[in-house]
Amino acid sequence: MSEKYLLRYMGQTDAQNLDYALEHGAYSALKKVLSEMPPGEVTGLVKAAGLRGRGGAGFPAGVKWGFIPSAEKRGGKPVYLVANADESEPGTFKDRAIMTYDPHLFIEGIAISSYAVDAHQAFIYIRGEFHQESLILERAVAQAYQAGFLGKDIQGSGFDLDLVVHRGAGAYICGEETGLLSSLQGGRGEPRLKPPFPAVVGLYSCPTVVNNVETLACVPWIVNRGVDWFRSMGPASGPGPKIYCVSGHVKRPGLYELPMGVSLRELIYEHAGGIRMDRKLKAVIPGGSSTPVLTADEIDVNMDFDSLGKIGTMLGSAGVIVMDETTCMAKALANLTYFYAHESCGQCSQCRQGTHWIDQIASRIAQGRGNPGDIEKLYDVVRRTRGGPTIEMIPAEPGATIGCSPELFREEFGTVLKPETLLRILDSEATEEDLGAVTGIMPRMAGQTICVLPMAVAAPVESFLTKFRQEFDYLIENRKSMVEGGFELASA
């Protein structure tokens, strides 16, 4: 078993106590940073480590921090840091464990990151359902204040930071960063168009960094152990320790902290103990419900951003949902389409209506009431719901982004943007002018939605239909599933 860093205390609550955490090295990285490193150096370190966001999109954290405008350009506006603890992608349950078992690691990560981006006010946006976890965090935050790791003049460094724990109230879309910010500002959790990105116009219209819990928890380790240590785990394009969430039909569902890039087969058959009752594996969703499904023949793949991208799926939030041979894929799909229909925020008409249409068709197929032509209809509705490629994905690293290849961008934007602008965007080196040029072509992007929810529903629908087509055809033709048993749909 490899060494653990993010889940060192999994299953024991000792580290919720600051004294215990301090004995085991908590806040040593923060002290080091505050006494030895200027903020820019911290950002440089995280960039050099190649830490990519663990929330889903895989955007390099240091690069994101680098988008925060300099103090001169901000014109007196404060910078905010928001920790995204709205963990709500089906299949994902890792952040909850970090917050429960190592809250001080998380808080230390927030403090160091805030220092790096010159933020003096940070928020933890935690989903409302995680009430117990939010209380653990509130206690840990109070302890950190008392011990001088938060508040004014932290450790005599002159650096001030306030941290507020803010509970959401149940809405998947609040995990999307602009939806989260709308919610934190006291509104409905409705996403807004990007650009401008939160780094420029975020919380209260001020520059804002939004990072996932696991991403932030990596930061103290990078400071303490260094870039080479971090890069020694996993591929160069996205290294580090990684928490994999395994659920579904395995013998030992749970969290597995392993080096980035573990093989999916090893994860399922060695770490998670294989398929329950030694049944046959049928399908695996590798990165949360919004990532395309893999068949049993596709599990010889490394669980990292690029390897999964190469076979047409994504690491996402590393929520691995395993389905055995007893699973009716049509029912599994209908379960997910219901989820997206329920969670569409309703701003964009094609998503508001399309997700419900998709769910209606997927549900009637699953219930043996499908009509000939329904599969084509599903593909068609998905295509129309999704619209064009979403512009917000442009500055993200190609290949790590939701369903969009750089080629697609070239085709879509190449005719309206200067080639050099496009190249800088694709290389994550976009200047403000480049982003302005992108904004300029926004009106031409008719048919697209504000956020990526339609892409999130498209991923399971298209991949389930394509990879398990036979099962769907059989169900429509014979009005019953090829699979005996299986689970009942909780929603009819």
Binding site: F93, G186, E488, S491
Partner: protein, 182 residues
């Protein structure tokens, strides 16, 4: 009511944020704790405290699954229905809840003790199936654990005075979008 009961707390909550309005979710949460659901009066009061109109506060409250705009039971059971829980038998668990309580999803028992909801992913997929009872997670649920849970909750709230207000069948979730048959 809100201002009377939470006189000492409201200002502190508001002061956590650079802008007042950010306190709306925490105040809605506090308000719901007072009466079990968010009444028109509570929404209006939050609006007054935060300089928002009552419809604005309503618009926010109605966005989130955890807020109830209609009366609910003393105990709320939220059964996770999303994929990992479904694979682990949450459908059976929900049916068992319905049978034991004699109510359907979205309904409240006649004695006002229990409301039952199916809920989207609770983020505890590794310990599926999961029920959130009020604010507490109950993981790796099975029928025996469900019995014990229902019994415990019944005892805890048996002596509470149940409000005589009409307990509606469904909370204000029914804003079904335009969903014509494609």
């Amino acid at each position: 009511m809100l201002r009377e009961k939470l006189a000492g707390e409201i200002q502190g909550i508001i002061e956590r944020y650079p802008e007042k309005r950010s306190a709306v979710l925490p105040l809605l949460e506090k308000a719901q704790e007072l009466q079990g659901h968010l009444t028109k009066e509570l929404l209006e009061e939050i609006g007054e405290v935060l300089d928002m109109s009552a419809p604005e506060v309503y618009s926010v409250a109605s966005f989130y699954s955890m807020f109830h705009l209609e009366p609910v039971g003393k105990n709320r059971l939220y059964v996770c229905r999303t994929l990992s829980c479904a694979l682990a038998g949450s459908g059976d668990l929900l049916s068992a809840c319905e049978k034991k309580l004699g109510i359907g999803e979205g309904e409240t028992t006649e004695d006002g003790q229990f409301s039952l909801f199916s809920f989207e992913c609770l983020g505890s997929c590794g310990t599926a199936p999961v029920i959130m009872a009020n604010r507490e997670y109950h993981e790796e649920m099975d029928l025996a654990k469900l019995d014990a849970l229902l019994e415990r909750l019944s005892k805890e709230t048996a002596n509470d005075v149940v409000e005589q207000s009409a307990v509606n069948e469904r909370s204000g979730e029914g804003d079904s979008p335009d969903s014509r048959e494609p």
